[in-house]
Amino acid sequence: MKWYPYGHDFGNAEMGGVTMLLNGPMLARSVPTAFVKADVTALSSLGVDTASAHILRLQGEEISYALGELALQQAIEPWNGRGDIQRYASKFSLRGLLTIAASLIPDREFGLYVVTGLPAETYIKNTELRHTIKNALDGVHTFTLDGGKTWRTVSVEVANVVMEGAGALIAYGDKNASKTAESAVIDVGGRTTDLYVARGQVPVTDFCKGKPLGVESATQMVMDAFESKHNRPLSRLEAREIMHAYASSGTRPYPEIAAYGRTIEAYLLERLAKEAINQVGLEIVSFVAATWRQSDRGAVAASFKPALNIGGGVYYFYSVLRGRIPHLARPADPIHANAQGYCTLAARLLSRKAEPRSVTA
């Protein structure tokens, strides 16, 4: 059985996974963090495409769960674990990990050497959670992704739980930076903005803070404003499509949305999105500026190198953040930045495990 290094990022809006096949390029995938109980037979009989969707059933369980897009499409309130700090150690986290890993790795049976992350404040305040995560994910898991036609077996071993942000600095940090210099990460996710600063790989806790502000905050503002203006609620799926269209800068069309038989024009949808994103963007900038203020002359993060903006929020808030931090950089793949670093760390730990260092007397 082959063992693969694996970076697991169980975000509250997107869950992502990154692995490496035989020292080849990294493979990455992320799906929305949304779970709903699924009756595969009933869905298929209704013409829902279940073959290409993510539907997982663990051996010994009777219930299948749809993950990601299908869960968003089929449920009004799919499970996403927001606000529940124990979600990182939940069966949902395991289901997400297995589903994404199995979609990246073709083997019927394989092992995963996993590194995952926790928000810095949670990591510091809740030390027990690291062990709880390991207990929840470790083990040999058998499951099906095709309604029981085939079964896959994955052995999971959690190698380490680190602080979110540390992953991005492993993948994108500069080794040549001076030992006194700090590297920084602004991780804007679906629900939260997490700040992380490290000297080398050692976190500087005073600068590591989080705040419940993210893309979903803007999405909720769009939903509220739409209902107030057009007198009908916007579904989360519709709101998500509007936000994605805005982030695409014209390459993805706005969804066709009607209220009482009248189609709402795209420029009106864009205006709603723009206003919400600007508002939340200013709040995020204010939070970063307050946490990383370095002088009374307005210097923010001036000494940090690199200063990285990661997470799905990059597509919405990077420009406003860069207005305040001119040297702010973003990775080519901001969504998987942490998981890439986790995977690189997992690979290093896996090679150490395979070749234990010689012990000298």
């Binding site: 069309p253 420029y267 990775p331 670093g341 760390l345 730990l349």
Partner: protein
Amino acid sequence: MPKDTERYQYFTVGLERDSWALERFKADTKKHHMSDQPGKLIALRLTEYYELLERGALPALASVPHASESGSKGNRHKGMSTRERQPVEEEVIAVSEDAEQNADEAADYWSTL
């Protein structure tokens, strides 16, 4: 037009049917009256691309028309175009060459906690 292999090096370029890039390229050839010379326009755009890269002004590709101007199949919301936002100056970075070393250092640190 016969090939001038002395002067030019020829390449075969495939653009996926119904792709976003192909739709935009078709609109581009039409706008500039070059529908009969797509190869020439590809050479022109490629030259412009490298010039922009050299000047560090890559996002300023504003003269290329949107596919929706000629009725893109991909746009489900026709006739409802939105105003194009100003391109954002970005500093995009690739995975660090030091990632392995960083991982080694991180392995030493995080394994102790």
